[in-house]
Amino acid sequence: MKTEINYLNCSKGLKSWLFTHDHKRIAILYLIGIAISFLLGGVFAMAIRLELLTPDQLIVSSKVYNQLFTLHGAIMVLLVIIPAIPGIIGNFILPLMVGAKDVAFPKLNLWSWYFYMAGVLLSLYHLSTGAVDTGWTFYTPYSISTNTSVITVVTGAFLVGMSSILTGINFLATIHMMRIKEMGWFKMPLLLWAFYATAVIQIIATPVLGITLLLLVMERVAHIGIFDPALGGDPVLFQHFFWFYSHPAVYIMVLPAMGVISEIIPTFCRKKIFGYKFIAYSSIAIALISFLVWGHHLYVSGQSAFASMAFGLLTFIVAVPSGIKVFNWIATMYKGAIDLRSPFLYVLAFLVLFTIGGLTGIINGTLSLDLHLHDTYFIVSHFHYTMMGGVLIAFIAGLHYWWPKMFGKMYSERLARITCGLLFLGFNITFISQFILGTRGMPRRYHNYLPEFQSLHIISSIGAFIVGLAFFMMLYYLIDSLFRGKKAPNNPWGGTTLEWQASSPPVTENFEQTPEMRELYKYKSKDEL
């Protein structure tokens, strides 16, 4: 039986992959890099939760503990959550979804991946020269004086930032200029609105991270002094510069995630999405308002009371468009013909977990409450609910949704369902305990803690180990599908967007015949499929 030629087997050898211009191969390259980073970040997480089983030292010293939480944070935020959905799902699906042969700038796309991998390699390397212990936020003046390899890891972060900027430029240009003629702005899938809004943030916010990291290097090398109080500088200025990027960055994370959700829900409810224009506009609104709220990370840093008030008010506003989306998604499900296969189960998990994350975000954004909650486990739990329960789960949902398209194989539905349940259970055990720990005063980033907190820490760690188990199961059944999975049809879920008209997996040029623009939400019933 003749094997069909597709983007995976059309050429062989390492060079054909490392020098590819094909957006689909670049997506797979990102998948490998991000999977490695996630494994590393996950190992550090397990080490942290193991250490925290007892109030005093169990397996590592305080210095090493500081390094563990710094690396877990830096790797997960910069090397996994920010690049995952744009790098993997965006790169693979976006050109297919607009009906194009590739992104606007394919060579630049390869360079995005090179910069990303350079960041990964520098981060790995720096572990051997003195892993950083500053917290992933690199606050001055400690990040200036610590004798760990700040410059190496910050250079890696700078390169990863460049990767993100170039991807944003590529996606903005692709969506703007390369949609097929019939795909007007309000006929394009919501994932594209999501990537468009994300690109705006990537282009405007990320360079400020770049210059901030450069200035930190200048501080360490030349002692320019602007962030060092001993030299007449202002450490809070560092925080302003850092969070000017890092708050919009969380929307770089979540907007693509929301885009994925907006694709999966209508398909698995076989129903037109409720409030298409509201979801589209709210993506743009989130991108714009995200720039106005960074000071809510500085409430207890010595920021002026006036600024704290201003940022507090603005923070309340940014939650509104996200809330609109959640309501629209739920309304889409109402009276839909629901298909409970695994991509949709992950979507349901997202809806619960992201909502909890978002609501606790409002609590943290409330100035009077944050004075007590800041730097406690309540904050830690909030951002895990949004970044992990939200973005990571959405990424997993998307990975499962488009897996048949990307690899031409179906994974084990049974194992996927069990894993989803295990992940949901483990996640909530881990982090509900942390909400409680936070409200009872357990500070974050603390190696030793008061004995009264131990039972909750033990519960949280058990949850974490369950989560770890779930991820190993996922790794197993996904890789297994590549070898023993059933051959996937072109359109296993009955989607109506253009990528489902390509073969599974697609040929290098994406479409064997010019894709036909069909009505976005006109679903065949399950029997017609």
Partner: protein, 120 residues
Amino acid sequence: MRNKESHHIISDKTYMNTFIFLLVFTIITVIISRIDLGILNTPMAIGIALVKATVVALFFMGLKWEKGINLVLVWGAIIGIIIFFGLTFADISFRGDISEEETLFLEIQPEFNNHGQKGH
């Protein structure tokens, strides 16, 4: 075959006038800086720089004839910078300002009066 409408070619006269304008205003900004206008020196220098930058953007970079997304991107950058400056200075300019409530509190608990450090 490119049609003229898809790309506007700017006239030599526009380019020359822009260049002369920039030269003249560079000389003006230097002259003004040599005169002590007190508090006005800074806004004048920044104002002239803004005018020069705008002229480069409009005529050398062709923004005057651009439409759509390219203009939106430029406005995005401008607004982004305004927000960055504005909200950062919402902190910097109002540091240490004490509200009425805090003043009342300090009257009741004078030992907190040394910048909030008790007992010092």
